[in-house]
Subunit: 494 residues, 4 copies
Amino acid sequence: MQPLPSTNPWDEDDGFHEECGVFGVWNASDAAALTALGLHALQHRGQEASGVVALTDPGSEKGVFNAHRGLGLVGDIFGDAKVMAGLKGRAAVGHNRYATTGETALRNVQPLYADFEFGGLAVAHNGNLTNATALKRALVRRGCLFQSTTDSEVFVHLIAISLYANVVDRLIDALKQVQGAYSLIALHHGALIGARDPLGVRPLVLGRLPEGAMVLASETCALDIVGAEFVRDIEPGEIVVIDDSGLRSINPFGRQQSRFCIFEYIYFARPDSVMEGTPVYGVRKSIGAELARESHVEADVIVPVPDSGVPAAMGYAAESGIPFELGIIRNHYVGRTFIEPTDQIRNLGVKLKHSANRPMIEGRRVILVDDSIVRGTTSKKIVEMVRQAGAKEVHMRISSPPTTHPCFYGIDTPEREKLLAANHDVEEMARIIGADSLAFISLDGLYRALGHARRESGAPQYCDACFTGDYAIPLTDLVGHPERVPALLAANGQ
Amino acid sequence: MQPLPSTNPWDEDDGFHEECGVFGVWNASDAAALTALGLHALQHRGQEASGVVALTDPGSEKGVFNAHRGLGLVGDIFGDAKVMAGLKGRAAVGHNRYATTGETALRNVQPLYADFEFGGLAVAHNGNLTNATALKRALVRRGCLFQSTTDSEVFVHLIAISLYANVVDRLIDALKQVQGAYSLIALHHGALIGARDPLGVRPLVLGRLPEGAMVLASETCALDIVGAEFVRDIEPGEIVVIDDSGLRSINPFGRQQSRFCIFEYIYFARPDSVMEGTPVYGVRKSIGAELARESHVEADVIVPVPDSGVPAAMGYAAESGIPFELGIIRNHYVGRTFIEPTDQIRNLGVKLKHSANRPMIEGRRVILVDDSIVRGTTSKKIVEMVRQAGAKEVHMRISSPPTTHPCFYGIDTPEREKLLAANHDVEEMARIIGADSLAFISLDGLYRALGHARRESGAPQYCDACFTGDYAIPLTDLVGHPERVPALLAANGQ
Amino acid sequence: MQPLPSTNPWDEDDGFHEECGVFGVWNASDAAALTALGLHALQHRGQEASGVVALTDPGSEKGVFNAHRGLGLVGDIFGDAKVMAGLKGRAAVGHNRYATTGETALRNVQPLYADFEFGGLAVAHNGNLTNATALKRALVRRGCLFQSTTDSEVFVHLIAISLYANVVDRLIDALKQVQGAYSLIALHHGALIGARDPLGVRPLVLGRLPEGAMVLASETCALDIVGAEFVRDIEPGEIVVIDDSGLRSINPFGRQQSRFCIFEYIYFARPDSVMEGTPVYGVRKSIGAELARESHVEADVIVPVPDSGVPAAMGYAAESGIPFELGIIRNHYVGRTFIEPTDQIRNLGVKLKHSANRPMIEGRRVILVDDSIVRGTTSKKIVEMVRQAGAKEVHMRISSPPTTHPCFYGIDTPEREKLLAANHDVEEMARIIGADSLAFISLDGLYRALGHARRESGAPQYCDACFTGDYAIPLTDLVGHPERVPALLAANGQ
Amino acid sequence: MQPLPSTNPWDEDDGFHEECGVFGVWNASDAAALTALGLHALQHRGQEASGVVALTDPGSEKGVFNAHRGLGLVGDIFGDAKVMAGLKGRAAVGHNRYATTGETALRNVQPLYADFEFGGLAVAHNGNLTNATALKRALVRRGCLFQSTTDSEVFVHLIAISLYANVVDRLIDALKQVQGAYSLIALHHGALIGARDPLGVRPLVLGRLPEGAMVLASETCALDIVGAEFVRDIEPGEIVVIDDSGLRSINPFGRQQSRFCIFEYIYFARPDSVMEGTPVYGVRKSIGAELARESHVEADVIVPVPDSGVPAAMGYAAESGIPFELGIIRNHYVGRTFIEPTDQIRNLGVKLKHSANRPMIEGRRVILVDDSIVRGTTSKKIVEMVRQAGAKEVHMRISSPPTTHPCFYGIDTPEREKLLAANHDVEEMARIIGADSLAFISLDGLYRALGHARRESGAPQYCDACFTGDYAIPLTDLVGHPERVPALLAANGQ
């Protein structure tokens, strides 16, 4: 899916955006309600649009698809009893995403749905295809008409034109043609299908409801909210077909070493999720402790940049013995828009999302802990705010290595020239954001916190391309677009 | 103002609701934008509607009033550049409140505005009048027509019918007739006026912008966001008149001992605000420490009920030496509505706002720290959720004394029969909410944390009626409505 | 009520606007639905906003008022089954009016409603008070707060402050203080009340439903749609009180000669209404015949300017023997807005509402028949359009005398300097609108068509102030505003 | 296009619905505004949705397409200056249609737009394909994904998969595969293309703006509104390609005798349009005169059922010598919805669109003239209404022959079993609608009024299938659906 620009002129958040959460359930009563709840728990993965497609009579050709989608939060889109009453069905698939406003955008809201020769199919897709543009060009040449601007529609056309008779064979046929990092959930009258890219970059988990119905979701927190028991992660490259006879697993790509997205642990996933067997919250605290060991500095107080910096700051405080305080308060009531700042307002350095808790900061040496630095604009404002509140010293500690490379695997990052760490060394960065000192966790420290070496038995363990430029999946669409290609690509032989 | 019911059938929050935040500024450029920002910082005091009235040419009779109000969050109401462009003026007053949806409610959104013989007047009011019904009856008998259902309109009519020539004299005339707990800010072409009730129950602070313009606001956090310096609290019973010649203070009621609302410290105020000279965040941590001393119990982990329980839990953890962990994650993406739960969904015990961070809880003895218990329904769900996540023991610690009495001074509390602590002793309450143990801070402990005795030199220091039934302001409208009168009233001679 | 400007930049209609239709019913099932239907039949009297207030249990103090109002057409405002379900009651009063968009305007939409000492009262008012400004000034001085900008609210305040105990006495008290031309319908728990100004300028009729329930309405066409039988016109200055014991008539002003608005016959009323005993359609045809006798000209075809010019054109054609043809087609699909015309579009002389039926016009001598000329801009465009369609000659015939004076009695007319006939003689007007000849019916001819002399037994029979400047009701609010006073006023001693 | 049901439970109109108007312009300034105006003039051909696609730089590959579509009237959809400002371009194509509300319907609103290998293409289509279902089935089998439920999308897919390189060749390729009655206008960067089905059933005319730009439209009334001169009708089966080098005409189907839709003259077309050289208004009057000659009856007054019955009634009156009067008034203020009628309201026989002008009817023998009888429900209500208004006799005269067969060529008609004339003879019909007598014009009389024989030189002149069952275009999609096939089909060898 394409990144979509924020329309909020006040937007202080120059961070990363996870793109999309997916959820599916087969043969349970209230399937659409369960899906809406699951999407609610996955709201942090996409807050701007959601959709649910439900299916009556799963397993029977009589099944009817009912759909609803909208712009906004899950609670608002599915808060109308009439909407829910219309989403009849015992199976469902849902999707959260970013979207701009208006009609044009609405057609991009997933799940995508199409009528095929074999019946209807709804597809919810999290991730990014790296050869979508090339595929789209070929499909248009063949006479395919594209209705959305999401690369997810490429899947749908590939399925439509596949010569295989069976929907699962068609899906495999399509997956073999695409490159990229993705998880997807598809629903047709005969089965709920889950699929994960061959390297397992994007997450997808399997759960089971008390009465036995199977659930697929991006994260375990979505299992928790519906009371589903965690069964296992879907394997890299695995396709699971859930129907009334149970679950069937297909591995069309053969076994491959997983290269799960390391940034899910640092920032994207919800802290109460467990990913690939490891609790996210615990990893974040361990990173904080590692960071304290690597880059200790004398100070009076550890202050997290809320909310994402909190666990690392707790780990840092515990390891360093310096007190942890909520020295920055987050305002959670930021709507979708806010007034255009005038010059005067801009000069006030007004921040809508954060405010300094002055009594905790005034006259103190402060260590700020945050998860990452992207463009550096937010860090600069935060440091400035903490200084205005009277801090004697401001030291910034970051619970990820420097982000030097854009992500092409499903995370919305700016182009390389806008990544502060791609263009400046750490000292320069400290000066730019105005901190007395700045330190990032080392790549090794990060892997230590995760309990792994970077390579084990010669095999890389995670996708860490945003820190290393080690892009494990070909970037086909970038060929011929050198302006979008990170400098290291050639060097890396990719 | 009247309490308004939540329309969210999923609403898990059975807590208190602060009612209203107010903000005003005199003779500053971008007055409406500053006011919208101030209201944004005060959003926690009322999230359902907001309004701003701006005045061009303050100090001149040529001034024109421009107004905008709406239902929803400040950012959404004032996010339209055209709206802000229409709010021309160098003085402004604004208001946040609760409101139901629809047109009927819109007429209740403040600031109220009316044309008087002396010109226009906009009034923003935080608090509650305890003789509003009696006054309204008399005013209607006299021929006054009421357009809203807020008791704030009583002020406006009293000003309208006052026989004094001058707007300040009319306002004093009105204030002398009302009983209650309130702060108000009024704007007319000649001045910005602030007033606080004689006991100073509701807060109001004075600030100064860098270029010297005066600002009034409910809390200091609203001064911080606009870059205003804190000057002082408005005194109990004080009226301040801000015009181009500066600030004039009037004390029509004489000096009285302040009885500031003690619950502002425990729950209502934003943690980064400083109230009556005392930082709110620090008080909360002290209460937590006091609570640990009073009601220690063996446990493995301290878990706050987010967000309001966090500082007290930190204080508790520091005092007790038991580790503090984010064992409950709050979902901040709860919109205004959500799907009607079916029975099946209800049986899942689904919680929209909170989820357990299972790895931090499983197999552990957990101390939950929360700020208060109102009906007990939320506490029950939270305890249940923590047990389902595998806690071995669940001990609940509350950073306020038992809430035994409703508030009639501006906070939306349920009637007495719905207050758990009004009808059950602590042991019964523990059983009802399902906790292994339950403890509240003592009233003395609370005062200790605040650094005061309950009475000093014989004078009570705070309004603590919700814990004690000691209602310091007459409850005139309750006379003849015994069903609304708390049982203790008679006993207390009120 | 105040005239409100059109927001349609394409607006070709520079004609008169009737202001408001009213409807009321007492003690019938489906009272709100009947009222919505009545308002639909009266839609020509006000197309921009409507409201209905219904009352359960009419005749009992237990009755509850339910209200709904909105901007737009009756069918759209009351087209929602939920809205109608909410308007429970066996009595109702409704109102059509003009209104601008947005919230500010909504508070002006009638019926106005207020809570009084004696209970609730809803008031729907058609017409204009000529001393409203003076009364409002006095009421504000007394402490009354105005919420709308309609002069109708003056009634409500006068009722509120009246010292009489009984609502009917209070209403009479109020009516005795106001000057103007109006019909009003009021509903309180004890009765439905109708009132007409002492000269009976604005219409109000009484009907009876098959089961006996009484109905009040502006025109008989609203009785027809609900199947009510016409009973009689309400008399000038009469107040009718309809309650469960029947109908009581009060004449607080004594009998006066009616001076019914003559323009209702010419243009405002719906052609199928019968006013003061005379069918409107028949009058219009008679005017056309009179006009043919007075101002015959050789021609090939009579073409009405649709829709209002059709009956007069038919009468003209029948009298003159020249064929009647629909040479101009009206487009009824004109919504509330349309694109801003660019210069190029403007030069095309595009007309949204009318188009020439070229085959009926080309090469012919055409007599156009229209009801009035106000500013002349529409007539000019129509003549131009007919010439462009190839007419050899264009003669304009108008079924009213020249409109030389504004109306202050409830019709939205432009100021005097914008009335073409106030500033130009007929020959100049013909030249301005581009017609080969122009003729208006004479005042005597108009009275002949109505079957009356202008004065009978010395008494004037109609209000014809727009043609004569003979303003029968004092224009109090104009005193001191000479710019609004027509030149003839002084001459007429008013 | 498919017929879409009315959502108005009050809908009294059981008549025919024309389906769609189209408009296009090449290389003119304000192209989108001209198109919106043209659509406004064609509003009678589709009132529920409209769209415009504009193209900057027509003739250049740099051209950018801008689009806007919406539900409602043209004036409301294009009434926003920002919308029009966004529709930049010097070429445009637009479409009016029926549509239900909501998002699902929006995707059906034309012009359809798609990106092809050769660039973008916008298509506006009026009419109906009779093999759309069969084609769609084959296209889906091939892997085409359908996004709308209109048969117009079949065109777009056929163009997309065509193997020809050139867009015009692809369009011809597509047209050769479809069967049906249609006019279409397509716009791509190189040309504006118009096409009419081989029999010319649906209309399409060519015009020229003063500066020379070419215009295509469904009817001449759309040329008139933009000041374009009528050039000629597009020929049956003709394709016109308008680009910067002028107009090129292609006749891929060879010359065929036109079989223009005879119902356009009777009802669909606007009376001021000229179709195939014949003025519509004149035809209608001639039909009325023919009808008077064929089915004279003694009466006092001729009353048209407005608005469509007016010209025929005038012709009838002129021929018969009986006076013509507007005995039924039409209420033009009917919005899109209205209150659900309760039983009581239903029993009142309430009519929202028509009301009797009682003084013209009471005590008289009335001849009603209407254009057609479809289900008969409207005629029944009208006759009833006229009787209730006191008519002594009611004779119904219809300006078309009995409608015995549904239209499959672009007009929304009910199935055969709902057509009153398909199931009853004229006497029964008279009894059903409650008229004292009923007569239709004969087929021969209709052709006489048009100045043609039914067959000239052996060739049929018009499509009159709705009266005769003589379906000139194969009804492929009906094969296998006998329930939809009119009984006469087999008999007619079709």
